[in-house]
């Protein structure tokens, strides 16, 4: 990296390599563009690891869709509903298919950011179970098609945790016995608050600031016990014994194919049920292709392959029947009526409540010593030093001029 200029061979080499590479890419780009004239591509924005991508023995859903329809899929992922919202709000990207969860669907509908779908063009959606139609987040069933659902459970390392899974409830995540080995949701304030609220026996959809403050205090109390705030890494970290306990969305694929030490427990008390649903953005340029995509995902064969890899529960009875009975009959992987009766779903909250929750959540995540005075002093101090130094420089210059 040093003195390239003095080394002519290297220069020539680099120029050559550089030029060759560029022409190669340009040609390839040209060919790609020519071979596939006017090819439509749709932007699909999904949760991380929420589709069968060919990394296991199951089919690569997007590649299969591209093969069958000739429509290109531009696939990218996000880690929580709020990031999805931020990305749609702040970035100038037009997403076609997005897959938010329940309360975010409601919020996006409220902000006019979703497009009504034409269900007659998506015949496969008729295989969706009745209980998933007209949900509270989309009462007229116009904007969304359920993709997966599940509940939040507690993942634990079998060799590190002594309690039996039947006994576990949220307060185990506050048990000092596991200090430094508990992980928490990094995902969204909703998920983190939800757990604290459920532990306190409060409603997960509370809009009472006092309740939220209580929950925040509970999380602050938990913080010293926590090893880290993580997302999808929980499975790996618990599997290899880096952590002992963490709440996460119940994922059958991980439980059956992951590390043998990884266990899953459904809490004794209240838990949270989520539904992730496919929606089309209001500003989508290719709504027809997007509907084609959604229809394709709902195809029983494709959905079965997909669900086998994704691991969450399916909203299609026909798909469920095709799964390994060990999974589809397992109470903690496919919650039964009893568990569902004590599960609550997040609802869209007013903006003020969300703002308060965000504030409290960030405050939990950062250190809080109320040292704003100290910081302002430092800023002012730096400014004064800067002024002093510039003044002394000017004085020096003047003196220099006189002599």
């Amino acid at each position: 990296m040093v003195n390239f200029s003095k080394n002519k061979t290297f220069l020539a080499f680099c120029t050559l390599a550089f030029g060759l590479l560029f022409t190669f890419l340009l040609i390839k780009w040209q060919i790609d563009n020519k071979n596939e004239p006017k090819q439509v591509s749709i932007n699909v924005y999904n949760w991380g690891n929420h589709i069968s991508d060919g990394s296991s023995e199951h089919i690569n859903v997007n590649a299969e869709f591209e093969r069958r329809t000739g429509i290109k899929v531009n696939y990218s992922t996000y880690q929580d509903n709020e990031s999805l919202y931020a990305k749609i709000m702040s970035s100038a990207t037009k997403y076609d298919v997005i897959i938010p969860s329940d309360y975010m669907v409601a919020k996006l509908i409220e902000k006019n950011m979703l497009r009504k779908m034409d269900f007659s063009k998506m015949p496969n959606t008729s295989t969706i179970d009745k209980e998933f139609l007209n949900p509270s987040y989309d009462p007229q069933n116009e904007y969304s098609v359920p993709y997966t659902w599940g509940v939040v459970g507690i993942f634990y390392n079998k060799s590190l945790v002594s309690e039996s899974p039947e006994e576990m409830d949220w307060d185990i995540l506050w048990n000092p016995k596991y200090k430094g080995r508990i992980m928490m949701f990094e995902n969204s304030p909703r998920d983190a608050f939800g757990i604290a609220l459920m532990k306190l026996g409060l409603s997960i959809n509370t809009i009472d600031p006092q309740d939220l403050k209580k929950a925040a205090a509970e999380m602050a109390r938990q913080k010293p016990l926590i090893k880290g705030y993580v997302t999808d890494q929980v499975f790996e970290k618990i599997g290899i014994g880096e952590a002992a306990l963490a709440p996460y969305y119940t994922d059958a694929y991980i439980v059956t194919s992951g590390s043998k030490d990884l266990g899953l427990a459904i809490p004794k008390g209240i838990t949270n049920k989520f539904v992730n649903a496919m929606c089309i953005c209001a500003n989508s340029d290719h709504p027809d292709e997007a509907q084609q995509y959604i229809n394709f995902i709902c195809d029983i064969e494709i959905a079965t392959e997909n669900i086998k890899h994704v691991g969450y529960c399916t909203p299609q009875q026909a798909v469920r029947e095709r799964l390994d009975p060990e999974i589809s009959q397992n109470k903690s992987l496919y919650p039964d009526k009893e568990i569902l009766s004590r599960s609550h779903t997040y609802e869209n909250l007013p903006d003020e409540t969300n703002a308060l929750m965000n504030d409290l959540w960030l405050k939990t995540r950062i250190e809080n010593n109320n040292s704003s005075k100290k910081f302002i002093c430092i800023l002012l101090g730096l400014f004064l030093v800067y002024l002093g130094l510039s003044a002394s420089k000017i004085i020096k210059k003047r003196k220099g001029n006189y002599t």
Binding site: S90, G180, I226, K227, E242, N358, S372, L389
Partner: protein, 272 residues
């Protein structure tokens, strides 16, 4: 006339893509959600004073560590024969070609509670260390990712040092230590300054590092900005205000550091 023409594409480009975006940060920082003028964002920035302070202290630690490790490295390399120098410097710069996320991820594997280092310690019958998910690990990550920016500028100043001055000092009877502290070190100050600024700026504004190596229990200011824009809290107005204060902080620090640089020469990029 001709000079104007050659300069014009750059002028247009820098107006649209350098000046306009930075001005947008100013505009956003003084607006509220409805687009009215407001100072509430700037006031709210100070809620995150602790984050600023911890970012500041961690990055100062990282910069010092880079200097302490990097200066001797640059010095020792500059004393080897020219052929070895070229090779060594190329090897120092090599890791820059690898994606920093990948390198940090590799460090996660190494530093974890059941990672390579702890397994090694266990194998040797020693006690396991708690490294990952501490602030120390974050500083460690900063040092690893940015130390190259310290070594290269110092090195390039050191090899430019006039050998005759050192020879003259030797002839006049100065010993090794005296030569180092009276000649080499003072002459390498421009390199140190550009190294310090090249390490300090990225480390004070870093994000993700604290989430990967620090476990996300104490976020740094870069993470807070990220969270306001693309993370779980959508509030670009507050995010812009935080960025504004961060820019101010960095500007002040850089301006003060640059007062210690007495060399008049216009800055070149020392390393390359």
């Amino acid at each position: 006339m001709k000079k104007r023409i050659v300069l014009s594409p750059y002028l247009v480009w820098s107006t649209i893509f350098i000046i306009a975006p930075v001005s947008l940060i100013f505009i956003f920082a003084f607006r509220d959600i409805d687009g009215n003028f407001s100072l509430s964002n700037l006031k709210n920035v100070f809620m995150y004073s602790d984050v600023f302070l911890s970012s500041l202290s961690l990055s100062i630690m990282a910069t010092l560590a880079c200097l302490i490790i990097g200066y001797p490295t640059a010095y020792l390399i500059s004393r080897t024969n020219p052929k070895t120098q070229k090779l060594l410097i190329a090897l120092i710069a090599m890791p820059m070609w690898l994606n920093f996320l990948l390198k940090t991820y590799a460090w996660m594997t190494i530093l974890e509670d059941n990672g390579i280092i702890n397994n090694l310690l266990f194998y040797l019958g020693l006690q396991k260390l708690k490294i990952i998910n501490t602030q120390g690990a974050v500083v460690f990550g900063m040092v690893y990712n940015f130390i190259t920016y310290m070594i290269l500028p110092i090195y390039s100043v050191l090899i430019k040092t006039d050998k005759h001055i050192i020879e003259a000092a030797q002839d006049l009877g100065a010993n090794q230590n005296k030569i180092f502290f009276k000649i080499t070190l003072p002459l390498s100050i421009p390199g140190i300054i550009s190294g310090v600024s090249m390490v300090f700026v990225p480390s004070v504004s870093t994000f993700i590092l604290s989430r990967m190596l620090g476990g996300g229990t104490s976020l740094l200011i870069g993470d807070v900005i990220d969270i306001q824009f693309l993370g779980s809290v959508y509030n670009p107005w507050l995010g812009s205000a935080i960025s504004l204060i961060l820019m101010l902080l960095i500007f002040l620090c850089m301006a003060i550091i640059n007062f210690f640089d007495n060399s008049k020469a216009e800055k070149e990029i020392a390393a390359f």
